[in-house]
Symmetry: C2
Subunit: 99 residues, 2 copies
C-alpha cells in the first residue's frame, strides 16, 4: 500500500481554511479514482510546544500506479488546482510506501 501525505502549514485564517477544507476540498479529494482511505489529522502541536503545521492529510492507494493515475486524472487535476483556493503558504507532499 502507498499513500500521499500532504502537510499544510498554519494558514493565516485557520477557521476559513477549516471550513473550505471540509466543505469543498475534502469532497473533491474523495472523488479521486482508486482512493482507498483518507485520514485527515488536525495538528494540535508538537511535544515541545507549537508546530508549524496545521493539518496533515493521508490518502491511501493500493499501489504506486494507482496513486499516480489518481493524481493525473481529471479529478486529481481539479483537486490539485483547488489548493490555491484555500492555502496561502506552500503545501508539502510526499509519496510514501507503507512497510
Amino acid at each position: 500500500m502507498v499513500k500521499l501525505t500532504v502537510l499544510y502549514t498554519k494558514p493565516s485564517n485557520p477557521q476559513e481554511f477549516d471550513r473550505y477544507y471540509k466543505e469543498v476540498h475534502t469532497p473533491l479529494a474523495s472523488k479521486l479514482p482508486g482512493l482507498k482511505k483518507m485520514e485527515i489529522a488536525k495538528v494540535l502541536g508538537s511535544p515541545f510546544g507549537e508546530s508549524d503545521y496545521h493539518l496533515i492529510a493521508n490518502l491511501y492507494f493500493d499501489n504506486l500506479d494507482n496513486l499516480k493515475s489518481a493524481m493525473s486524472s481529471d479529478e486529481g487535476k481539479v483537486t490539485a488546482k483547488d489548493l490555491k483556493n484555500f492555502t496561502d503558504s506552500p503545501v508539502q507532499m510526499m509519496i510514501c510506501e507503507i512497510n
Copy 2:
C-alpha cells in the same frame, strides 16, 4: 483517536539508518504503553521530484492523555533518547487529532 507523527529528514547514510530503525528503534517504540498501531512509511519522493524526507512514522493512541503518558513513561524516554543514535538531522514531531 490521536497520533504522533514523526518526520525524519534524509540521513547521510540511509542504509545504516534503515537498519538501525528496523532492528533497534522500532522494537523500542513498539513497547510504548497504550500504543494502538504504528505505521512506518518510506518516502519515495514528492509529486514534483525529490523530497527532503526519508521516513514518516505514525504512532496511534486512543486519546491525548494516553499519548502523553506514553511519551513520559520510561519506555517513552528510552525511545526518545535513542533518536540521537541514528539521526544526524532534526526530527520533527507533531501531535495530531484524527477527524
